[in-house]
Point group: C2
DNA sequence: ATTTAAAATGAGAATTGTTATCACTTATGG
DNA sequence: CCATAAGTGATAACAATTCTCATTTTAAAT
């Protein structure tokens, strides 16, 4: 029994705005963009809808970066990298860690339900800029 | 030029207490244990010292679990799992993802400085308990 | 040993990201 | 079109963490 979500204009704006991102914003920076399209949407509505979209598997929440959560419209298996310099959060393809779940379950006897790999360092753009 | 840390009794108590853990506590639960040994240590002192120990590479901070940070006295490369049921945070050996840094740097052109894998699910003990 | 400057402390206020409350509005199915 | 469940905006509340500041402790140099 999947709990029904009613339509809401605000949720649509929020999801569409998130989909415009290639990198993955915090609630705060997403809120700025959302407000450009609908200046009445409240911050509580943003958080409520982000949580709801996460619970329904439509988007993913990325925890693990030092400050606040980031949100990702890509729900395929992949991992994340934050640049220490520009603070952008990029996708990392999942083939960098083949067979990770299976190996971990074998090794530990734990049941793995969720996982993410969180990398940080310097992205390609910033490396190039630094060497100039 | 490594910044010198002066000795402090409080820091010693905090580090020693952290070392008693097999699983990895939050600041809050570590604080309870620390207060049993020295009931005068302030919460600010705990946080200040944990951050300082992290900056000096003596302990590691584990972000990425839904609520608060956990702290780990084991600085060897390894990963982390939180049980959804008992909320304990366990170590996962790093050989579940061989050559992860190298492959990721190759694939992306990014410079990787830090990384962690965050798993969640049900630990072995809780699986056993559940099947009773 | 005494002095001195930097480092650390305790207590509590402040800050930040996020969630809860509540009166009101909108969506949906009969 | 009515009833009811779901969603909203505004703002208060919250929890984790950091900051402030007057006082104390450490280290190292006299």
């Amino acid at each position: 029994m999947v709990k029904m979500m009613n339509y809401s204009r605000q949720r649509e704006v929020i999801l569409n705005t998130l989909k415009e991102y290639v990198v993955h914003p915090t609630a705060e920076s997403l809120y700025e963009k959302v407000r450009e399209k609908d200046s009445k949407i409240s911050l509580a509505t943003l958080y409520r809808n982000l949580n709801q979209l996460v619970e329904n598997g439509i988007i993913k929440k990325i925890d693990g970066f030092y400050d606040s959560a980031h949100f990702d419209h890509n729900t395929h298996e992949h991992y994340h990298f934050m640049c220490r310099n520009c603070k952008r959060v990029f996708d990392i393809p999942s083939n960098v860690a083949p067979d990770l779940i299976h190996k971990t379950e074998e090794t530990t006897g734990f049941l793995i339900e969720n996982h993410d790999i969180i990398f940080s360092g310097i992205c390609k753009d910033c490396r190039n800029d630094m060497s100039n």
